[in-house]
Amino acid sequence: MRFYEYEAKTLLGKQGIPLPKNGTANTPEEAARLAGEIGGPAVLKSQVLSGGRMKAGGIKFADSPDEARSAAEVILKLEIGGQLPRSVLVEAKANVRKEYYAGVIYDAVAKRPLLIFSDMGGIDIEEVAEQHPDHVARMHFSSLLPLSDYKVKETIASIGVTGGELTGLVPIVTRLARTFLQYDLTLAEINPLAQLDTGRFICLDCHIDMEEEARDRHTALLNELGVKREETRMARPPTPFEIKGAEVDAKDTRGVAGRVVEFDGNLGLIIGAGGGSLTLFDAVRKHGGKAANYCEIGGNPSVTKACELTKLILSKPGVEKIAVMMNVVSNTRVDIMARGVIKGVVESGYDPAEKIAIFRIPGSWEDEGFKILRKYGVEYCDRSVSMNEAARRAVEKVKKG
């Protein structure tokens, strides 16, 4: 779940990270008033969730309230990445001496948060890491134990930052890392983290993403920021297909059959269980398959729910076959899934034996499920066939037509 920049800055400000004087405007007049209150040069930034604002003309500078009004007029009507801005952030323009980068992400391989720091800020950190690896410091830290300032200090100092700069940066970067932990974030990034002419450090731009599953743990913060429950906060608005997928999931409380993401391939995916969705999606891609969608199944969805999801996926133009694949399931029943998927295929007017490339859901009630699959002539396999192999077989079947 992504935050708008103004929300991210509100959160960082609450955590004691210094920010430029700023405010949000929904009209050109408000922008002019804010610029007047700033009392000097200002920068106006479109509040959209997608990137590429500068290139798209969504960031403009103004030396006076009149210029701010004109800039806001343009920005408020400017669509970026298919989104109109929610508002315009009007901020005091900073006199920057040097730009740094500070970011925290979750390293899923190491299963720990990773702090990344660079003394080359203002540009993509990936570019810096590739071209100037000696200017990037990294440190994994515990998500359970308290984070010590000195560990952050060691990390920043490891690329040669010393003296007043080191002293000024450590508390800001430490607060950023603690914010990451406190609010279950998946990304907390300040870029640039600027040193002003005065020597002071300030957050000029930031990106913050929160773990979707953690929303309920942070309702106080989300209410304070004005984030509504129905806001998906993805980088792009959901497609009609994805909205229908969410409706299928919401209609029935039994289990999960949702998080549908649309792609433009020909293999529909009904996947899930214990990280199975991501693993299987990657496996399909690895074998050269083109997924029509991503989704997550789990928690024993009802026959109706599995049926409706199947029908939705099969209704997508270009879908030639579907692959029904899950990790070993314990609380999802194989026979219930088999019933739901087969029913969905039949109700869509297709032959399950033709339309289902493979059914690989091993686990509870699998013998009962396999009886159903045999009856309808569907190719299935148990846990002796890996998820990777099942994905390969599905891709091969689609290629054969």
């Binding site: 019933r339 029913k343 039949v346 109700e347 009886k371 309808y376």
Partner: protein, 74 residues
């Protein structure tokens, strides 16, 4: 669409027994049973395929009075 996987056969003694019909309506976890206005048993066709094979209905009735038939067997 008619059920594809499950059929429930209840004999006439179950259908006409309002008390048993009430019990079946209460115990079925997926609402396969309902009562008609006169208290007799009604089988909700739309929910048959949701049957989780728990056999609570079979246990609630006299032996052999209700049968859950798996249409994919045999």
């Amino acid at each position: 669409m008619p059920s594809m996987f499950i059929r429930v056969d209840a004999d006439s003694s179950v259908h006409s027994n309002a008390e048993l019909a009430k019990k079946l309506t209460e115990i079925c976890p997926v609402d396969i049973f309902a009562q008609n206005p006169d208290g007799t048993l009604r089988i909700v066709e739309d929910n048959l395929d949701e049957c989780v094979l728990c056999d609570l209905c079979v246990e609630a009735c006299p032996p052999g009075a209700i049968k859950v038939v798996k249409l994919y067997e045999g």
